[in-house]
């Protein structure tokens, strides 16, 4: 019993967890269709930004498409108008996201969490209109920007080839996960959690809430922009649809699905969500119905998400089976 427990806890200890996840992901990458896996990996990166905001800061943002769009469009602008190297494009996208977060952050992180959620959605709508209507001459409006054929292949991993892009995405996703894991162990991570749980006390100890929130906000949304840049490179195309506010709930839903604040949550959530979307859309064709009530269900019953709900359930089942086995032996 105790041996099994310590083994389980060691398997769950994070470095092992990351290695195991990496292995499982690689296996999936070989076995499952590449386009599906590509979407899952980028989506997981996208969600991990949101997961950090919710899980470590207690801030829910319905405006993640905005930051995604910033990254995607910065990359697209570079690849469409300036250069041909997708890696440089990626860098431009991340830089754009960083700058955007630095500019927007100070205004937003002062707000109470409910206003924060709404204002972010508003930002997403603004950016949607900007890309769709206001800057048509630069963004191409609804037609978007195509640059798939303009990208030059890169050495080592050719980002213009989907199969190789997948490995790149897996590496980036792992790096992002390791970074968040690292942050959790630092003073900063502890402060984030403390600011989530008890604002007043933190101020009392002498840490500045505003700064902590701002830094966390910048980190989270730079990661989101990174995901946007990766989408842009993977599709070789951006359009306003990518930042559409009607998809504003997706990262939040997936964060909840995977389990708020867990490291593996985004990946598991992205996997489950993308998979379900494919299956359900084919099966009943009414995606909203399903995802909407799934969300309500999660909130009412299983608000620990898949990652938070399954292991305890599995553990309970294991104990149960063991007892049954013991009884059978006697």
């Amino acid at each position: 019993m105790t041996a099994a427990k310590s083994l389980a806890s060691r398997a769950l200890s994070w470095w092992w967890g990351i290695a195991a996840t990496l292995l499982a992901t690689s296996l999936c990458a070989v076995l499952l269709p590449t386009p599906f896996m590509n979407e899952v990996m980028i989506f997981a990166i996208y969600v991990s930004g949101c997961n950090f905001l919710i899980g470590r800061l207690g801030f829910i943002s319905f405006g993640q498409p905005a930051y995604l769009a910033i990254g995607a469009y910065c990359t697209a602008f570079y690849l469409f108008y300036v250069g041909t190297n997708p890696l440089v494009g990626l860098g431009v996208g991340v830089l754009g996201g960083l700058l955007g977060a630095i500019i927007i952050g100070p205004f937003f992180v002062r707000l109470r969490s409910d206003y924060f959620a709404m204002v972010n959605l508003a930002l997403a709508v603004v950016l949607f209109y900007v890309t769709q209507k206001l800057l048509v001459s630069i963004t191409g409006g609804d037609n978007g920007l195509w640059f798939l054929t303009q990208m030059q292949s890169t050495p080592l991993l050719d980002l213009t080839a989907p199969a190789q892009f997948l490995w790149f995405a897996i590496i980036v996703a792992t790096a992002v996960t390791v970074m968040f894991k690292y942050l959790d162990g630092t003073i900063f991570g502890a402060c984030c959690l403390a600011s989530r749980l008890n604002e007043d006390k933190l101020q009392f100890i002498g840490y500045d809430n505003f700064k902590i929130r701002l830094v966390a906000f910048i980190i989270a949304n730079t990661v989101t922009a990174l995901a946007g840049a990766m989408y842009a490179i993977y599709f070789g195309f951006v359009s306003p649809e990518m930042g559409s506010p009607s998809r504003a709930a997706e990262p939040v839903i997936v964060t909840l699905l995977g389990g708020v604040g867990t490291l593996a949550g985004p990946l598991i959530g992205a996997f489950a969500y993308t998979g379900m979307k494919d299956v359900i859309s084919n099966l009943i064709g009414n995606w909203e119905l399903f995802i909407g009530f799934l969300l309500v269900f999660i909130m009412l019953v299983a608000d620990q998400g898949i990652w938070g709900t399954l292991p305890p359930a599995a553990r309970a089942l294991l104990v149960h089976l063991r007892r049954a086995a013991g009884r059978a032996r006697n």
Binding site: I60, F107, D114, V126, P245, S246, L289, F290, I291, L295
Partner: protein, 291 residues
């Protein structure tokens, strides 16, 4: 730039009517927040339901106003069910929690609407095509009717909250729910009542707005951001603030599109951001006690 005064006139009326719709929708959200501390995005679902029921009843009976009444009733009923089955269980939790849940409801509800009515947009006939001459400008009477309905609703809500004992109790509970509870008043019932009023008003908004748009399942999502802005600018929990900000946003949207159409959709956001910078709780936001 010189603007045709007749265009300005009709644009102002247009702004008033759309502001009226914003108000009908936002008032429910605002009251629900003030009293129950929930962010009820599902109001946008009752709005869509109201519009679809208005359409269906209108087609079946040929009676537009009967349809609107049925739409408001359907909004109220749907919200009653949702309050009883779902919101009851989450009042005690953080507002953002209710926001996610209600987003799920909105989405799932859109799925149901698609299931029942399909995805094809439905036109609803304007009940009166009469025009009205103001300083040489032809103003559709129906737009004025919408404005009238919004004004009447404002007056009724005001009277309800200030003149009846139940309304007073609701205001008292907005002030301090624990003190009201401590007196042995059933605040659960006040919550239900408020939520149903909100739902019915959203249904009403959908019904009266239906003739001016195409009724389609996504209409709630399209409205969402604007209603948000109205509520945020006005301040969550304030009726007067909601009315004023609905008025402002209505005018900004309509006059803005007269000046430069693409910017009109964005201007409200800019205003909202500016107001939040100066006053993080909106124009008339209530000082909130932590619960």
């Amino acid at each position: 730039m010189s603007l045709d005064p007749r265009l300005v006139m009709s644009s102002v009326i247009f702004g008033l009517s759309i502001g009226g719709i914003y108000f009908l929708l936002a008032i429910g959200l605002s009251l629900c927040f003030g009293l129950m501390r929930i962010i009820s995005l599902d109001q946008l679902l009752y709005y869509s339901i109201g519009a679809f029921v208005t359409y269906s009843v209108g087609v079946a009976t040929g009676q537009f106003w009967l349809g609107v009444a049925a739409g408001a009733a359907a909004g109220g009923l749907a919200s009653l069910a949702v309050e009883r089955l779902i919101f009851r269980r989450i009042y005690a939790r953080d507002p953002t929690f209710s926001m996610i849940t209600s987003f799920g409801l909105l989405f799932g509800g859109i799925g149901i609407i698609k299931f029942v009515w399909g995805v094809v947009p439905r036109p609803v006939e304007v009940p009166t095509l009469a025009q009205f001459d103001v300083l040489g400008t032809q103003i559709p009477v129906y737009r004025l009717i919408i404005v009238g309905i919004a004004v009447v609703v404002y007056a009724l809500i005001w009277a309800f909250l200030h003149r009846t004992i139940v309304g007073k109790a609701i205001r008292a509970a907005i002030e301090n729910v624990e003190h009201v509870e401590g007196l042995g008043i059933n605040v659960g019932r006040l919550f239900t009542l408020t939520f149903v009023i909100a739902g019915a008003l959203s249904g009403l908004a959908g019904g009266v707005y239906a003739p001016l748009i195409l009724v389609d399942p996504m209409m709630g999502l399209e409205m969402l951001a604007f209603v948000f802005m109205v509520v945020i600018i006005g301040g969550l929990g304030s009726i007067k603030g909601t009315a004023i900000s609905a008025l402002i946003i209505g005018q900004v949207v309509s006059l803005g599109s007269l000046i430069y159409a693409p910017a009109a959709q964005m201007a409200p956001f800019v205003i909202m951001l500016a107001i939040l910078l100066i006053r993080p709780t909106g124009l008339f936001g209530v000082a909130l006690t932590r619960r």
